[in-house]
């Protein structure tokens, strides 16, 4: 049974669907965060500014996005 079928038959009142949706949403959120943070940096934003908009500490955002991780190929 595909997740499509599960979603259709069980609906969002099924905890399994709800939980999986949360996991997917988290993943999506993380990806959006990486894109937005990298772009803000490219546009000259400071870590403090980025942290402010994300409502996290400057240290947290810098440690997470500040390097050391594999830089994804994104040219231009």
């Amino acid at each position: 049974m595909s997740s499509m079928e599960i979603a259709k038959s069980a609906g969002s009142n099924d905890p399994a669907i709800g939980l999986r949706a949360v996991a997917s949403l988290r993943r999506l959120t993380e990806q959006l965060e990486s894109l937005q943070v990298d772009r803000a940096r490219d546009l000259g934003w400071s870590w403090a500014q980025i942290a402010g908009e994300l409502s996290v500490s400057k240290q947290a955002v810098h440690q997470k996005h500040g390097g050391g991780h594999v830089i994804t190929a994104r040219k231009g």
């Binding site: 949706a21 993943r27 993380e30 990806q31 990486s34 991780h69 190929a73 994104r74």
Partner: protein, 188 residues
């Protein structure tokens, strides 16, 4: 603690630390330090190890890697089930970031929790203390890579023994080679 370490000896600890970070484990063990010894190009630890067929790469392969939580792709169907239009999000994102940008965007949760400076395990600390003792016994005021290696050998650590034996060498034989090269360097 590290004042007595030569630059080359410090470089070994940096290599060990970098490997621990790369493997995603939150500590520096004797195995990571052994890797650092093998990764160096100098004569007192790196050369004797390589001469015995013990390369940094062969050590790295034996060291555990943190189980990276399998990052699953976004399940668009379950998102739809809770009212989120993934395709809509993707379309908006790609307007700004380009085609395929969302799919290839990294998930940096692991980077967020990764410690920058993993601590030495008690055994690794003990190895470093033993390296100081070895240096003192050899009347050397500096701690050199060879002393670190001899400190590791004195630990009686299973991982170190396995690596050495796997390559057909012995701790005793290697120690002799290291002592010789340390002697050549420290009394130059």
């Amino acid at each position: 603690m590290f004042e007595r370490f030569t630059q080359e000896a410090k470089a070994i600890l940096v290599e060990a630390q970098d490997l621990a970070i790369e493997l995603g484990v939150g500590y520096i063990s004797p195995g990571h330090i052994l890797y650092g010894c093998a990764a160096g190009r100098e004569s007192t630890a790196g050369e004797p190890l390589r001469a015995a067929g013990i390369t940094a790469e062969s050590i790295r392969r034996l060291l555990p890697r943190a189980e990276n939580q399998p990052v699953e792709d976004v399940d668009t169907e379950v998102l739809r089930a809770i009212g989120i239009d993934f395709e809509g999000v993707r379309a908006v994102v790609e307007e700004t970031f380009g085609s395929g940008s969302l799919k290839s965007a990294p998930d940096r949760r692991a980077a967020a929790t990764k410690t920058r400076r993993p601590p030495f395990t008690p055994e690794a600390k003990q190895a470093l203390e033993l390296s100081l003792r070895v240096a003192l016994e050899l009347h050397d005021r500096r701690i050199r890579p060879g002393h670190i290696l001899l400190g590791l050998f004195r630990l009686d650590n299973d991982f170190i023994s396995i690596v050495v034996r796997q390559n057909g060498a012995t701790i005793a034989g290697l120690s002799a080679a290291v002592l010789e090269s340390v002697d050549a360097v420290s009394h130059r």
